[in-house]
């Protein structure tokens, strides 16, 4: 049986009125006690958002981390992401969700779900993965970068004790997905790299129940952790935020090279992977960058990897920039098309024809999308029904 929060969230989303992150938090805070929510952290009287500490049972969410190295003087070195934080006793890493306690490193967000929705898979976006299907999508607090444009900053840039969360262990995740007829669990919204242990356990529980797993990630991860954690995924979407190191350093607070390495590793692993490139006016929208990106993808990943150029909306620390003009996105697509990529999409622009999938050989439309809905799906046996050209992806359950 679902608890109150799950029901409330899922019902709202199925009614076509998804809550944004802030509304979700407010709603959870305001209505938790009144609705008799089971397991939701109830704020004490008079507290506002961000005052959840002490109201959640920390022990339930605390599990020893999988990727770290013990050092002298009770220090540890995190081996999860390329940042390799050296963390002293009682301190946390950059992500804010991993803590050194006496020389043992712990994740504080195992089963600590702060956002849960049922979303169309097109919203991730994954366009070559079970079109028209839905995914039980969840997140914990925390992130290993700090993108100045983050649309979910209020959960990604917070510590777990600062936001209400619910205890949803892996098997419960699988049960909920099944109950809502979701063929897929999606790890998304914040940054799944930092809840890898939970993701792995939930993926295992899901697979035991016949449910797949997908991840929406920045790919900023060490190779061993990537292979171990994302090896359990059925498909991966990587946010390649730019094709320049300086942008990664200044806007993302990360590095480009490890993300490119992750994409190559995923390719070698045979994981179905799609790439999203959020286009920010003046910051990562030059012809040279689009061309360099497309050439790199073609050479290193092949022409069949879908590449989505998506529209930016002002958020978080970049509210001074305008929305990406549609002609800029069309220019990016034209350049990538010209470089020989087969599946280049434009995202966040409702009803744009470049949201559809076309056969690269006969140019017929194969999947029509309206918003986050796949309104027509013609691919049969992984091929174009008109010319039998193979169309790569995971098209059928």
């Amino acid at each position: 049986m679902l608890c109150g929060l799950e029901l409330q969230e899922i019902a709202r989303n199925q009614a076509g009125s998804p809550l944004d992150r802030r509304s979700f938090l407010k709603c959870a805070l305001a209505s938790g006690a009144a609705l008799g929510i089971n397991g939701v952290a109830e704020p004490a009287a008079g507290m506002g958002a961000g005052a959840a500490s002490g109201t959640q049972d920390d022990a339930r969410f605390t599990v020893e981390a999988k990727f770290y190295q013990k050092l002298a003087e009770r220090k540890i070195k995190c081996k999860l992401c390329p940042r390799e934080c050296t963390v002293g006793d009682k301190e946390r890493g950059y992500c804010g969700v991993r803590e050194n306690r006496g020389g043992v490193y712990y994740t504080l967000v195992h089963s600590r779900v702060c956002a849960a929705h049922v979303d169309p898979v097109e919203k991730k976006p994954l366009f070559h993965y079970l079109p028209g299907s839905i995914a039980f999508s969840l997140a914990t607090a925390g992130c290993n970068v700090n993108c100045k444009f983050c649309q979910n900053w209020d959960i990604s840039q917070s510590r777990p004790e600062q936001i209400p969360a619910e205890y949803i262990p892996p098997r419960r995740v699988a049960e909920i997905a099944k109950q809502y007829s979701c063929p897929t669990i999606a790890y998304t919204y914040s940054e799944p790299v930092i809840f890898s242990e939970f993701l792995m356990d939930a993926a295992d529980a899901g697979h035991e129940a016949g449910i797949r797993s997908i991840v929406v990630s920045n790919g900023y991860m060490q190779e061993e952790a990537l292979k171990t954690a994302y090896g359990k995924m059925d498909a991966v979407k990587i946010d390649l935020k730019s094709f320049s190191e300086s942008y990664y350093r200044q806007v993302v607070t990360g590095q480009l090279k490890p993300v490119l390495n992750s994409l190559v590793t995923l390719r070698k692993m045979g994981k179905w992977t799609e790439i999203v490139y959020l286009v920010l006016p003046t910051l990562n929208d030059s012809d040279e960058e689009f061309r360099g990106l497309a050439q790199w993808v073609k050479v290193n990943l092949g022409p069949d990897v879908p590449l989505h150029f998506t529209q930016f909306h002002p958020e978080y620390l970049l509210k001074n920039l305008p929305i990406t003009p549609v002609p800029t996105l069309e220019r990016a697509k034209a350049i990538a098309d010209a470089e020989g990529l087969h599946y280049v999409y434009i995202g966040n622009v409702p009803r744009h024809p470049s949201q559809n999938t076309y056969c690269p050989k006969c140019r017929k439309m194969l999947v029509e999308r309206v918003g986050f809905t796949a309104s027509q799906m013609l691919i049969r046996k992984n091929s174009c029904p008109f010319c039998q050209h193979p169309i790569p992806g995971i098209w059928h359950v």
């Binding site: 802030r22 004490a44 008079g46 507290m47 506002g48 958002a49 961000g50 005052a51 500490s53 002490g54 003087e73 940042r83 050296t86 002293g88 006793d89 009682k90 301190e91 946390r92 890493g93 950059y94 992500c95 804010g96 700090n146 100045k148 900053w153 840039q157 917070s158 510590r159 004790e161 600062q162 607070t253 978080y316 620390l317």
Partner: protein, 341 residues
């Protein structure tokens, strides 16, 4: 006028932090009405920023614990040296506007071993009340209530007593405050319950930032300090201190150097701690940080350790805080007047 000066420090602590007893103000409304806040220039000797370094080699009793009476006397001596008033309460009155709510931002990450000394905070609370601040208008705070307790503070919320709790009890502002490379949600203790901020950090080595003293103690004011540790916390420390919500409230820094740490910080490493038996007081946090950094370097040299620069962890954020973009104070030794007291 009721004063606790004749009572034991233990009594005061019990009354102000944990008990319900009222501690009446020593200054009446009349005297407060004429009080003027001290402008930044009052901490300046001529064109220089004044940093008072007050020491008491007899600060500790036979059990090596800080003596409550002596730390009060040390505080008085330091305040007199900084602000030039003969009577301790007068110095404090010069800092405070009538009716202000005063928050004391302590540092309790290091547990009992290397956190802001409770007796020092009690002494400051005592003088604030004698200067006319109601006990309930004083809040002693840090990020987390459990960390305050581990450092020896007794939590207190509500009633006519000195308040003491962490941001976890009231939360952070929903909206971001942003400056430069920093975008953070601020503690509601700062934004809603402080018209005046007194910063009471500890003199500490820091494995990433070089040192953590006054400026970096503001990391305990925001919801996402973990995001601002790369690159030796530079320029994040300086940018954070530029937030108007912090800058306009910051009135004074009293750095607790009774026990300090010169290596292995910010956590408690008893083998690297020393009893400096000192307080550093200034209205220029940059000058104070520079002075504290040099104290740590001298101790490191005495112990045969490399300089922080050699270890590639010099606190460059101090220079950033002093640059033309920030102007939070001066790090130029020629413009810092160190006054021994």
């Amino acid at each position: 006028m009721k004063t606790v000066r004749n009572g034991s420090r233990r009594d005061f602590l019990r009354q102000s932090f944990a008990g319900a007893a009222l501690l009446c103000a020593s200054g009446g409304a009349g005297s407060l009405a004429t009080a003027e806040p001290v402008a930044a220039k009052s901490g300046v000797a001529g064109a220089k920023s004044k940093v008072v370094v007050a020491r008491d080699e007899m600060l500790r009793g036979a059990d090596s614990k800080v003596d409550s009476g002596r730390i009060l006397a040390l505080l008085d001596r330091a305040m007199k040296a900084l602000l030039g008033h003969d009577h301790p309460a007068e110095a404090w009155k010069a800092l405070i506007r009538p009716g202000e709510t005063v928050s004391l931002k302590v540092n309790t990450l290091g547990g009992r071993g290397i956190s802001t000394n409770v007796l020092l905070v009690a002494a400051i609370c005592e003088r604030l009340q004698q200067a006319g601040v109601r006990a309930s208008n004083i809040v002693v705070w840090d990020r987390d209530s459990s960390e305050l307790e581990r450092a020896g503070f007794h939590l207190a919320m509500g009633g006519e007593r000195v308040q003491c709790y962490g941001t976890d009890r009231v939360g952070y502002e929903e909206n971001l405050a942003a400056w430069g490379n920093v975008g953070s949600r601020l503690s509601k203790i700062l934004t809603e319950r402080s018209s005046l901020l007194i910063n009471i950090p500890v003199l500490k080595d820091h494995d990433g930032a070089g040192v953590t003293i006054a400026l970096k103690n503001m990391y305990g004011v925001i919801h996402n300090p973990n995001k601002y540790h790369p690159d030796g916390c530079n320029p994040y420390v300086a940018d954070l201190n530029m937030l108007p919500e912090i800058r306009t409230r910051m009135r004074l820094t009293i750095c607790d150097a009774t026990t300090a740490i010169y290596e292995g910080g910010p956590g408690y490493k008893p083998e690297h701690c020393w009893n400096a038996n000192s307080l550093l007081i200034s209205q220029d946090p940059v000058a104070l940080d520079h002075t504290g950094w040099q104290m740590i370097e001298r101790k490191r040299a005495e112990k045969g350790l490399k300089t922080l620069e050699t270890e590639k962890r010099a606190p460059h954020y101090i220079a950033t805080a002093a640059d033309g973009e920030h102007k939070l104070g001066t790090n130029d030794p020629k413009r810092i007047a160190i006054v021994e007291a």
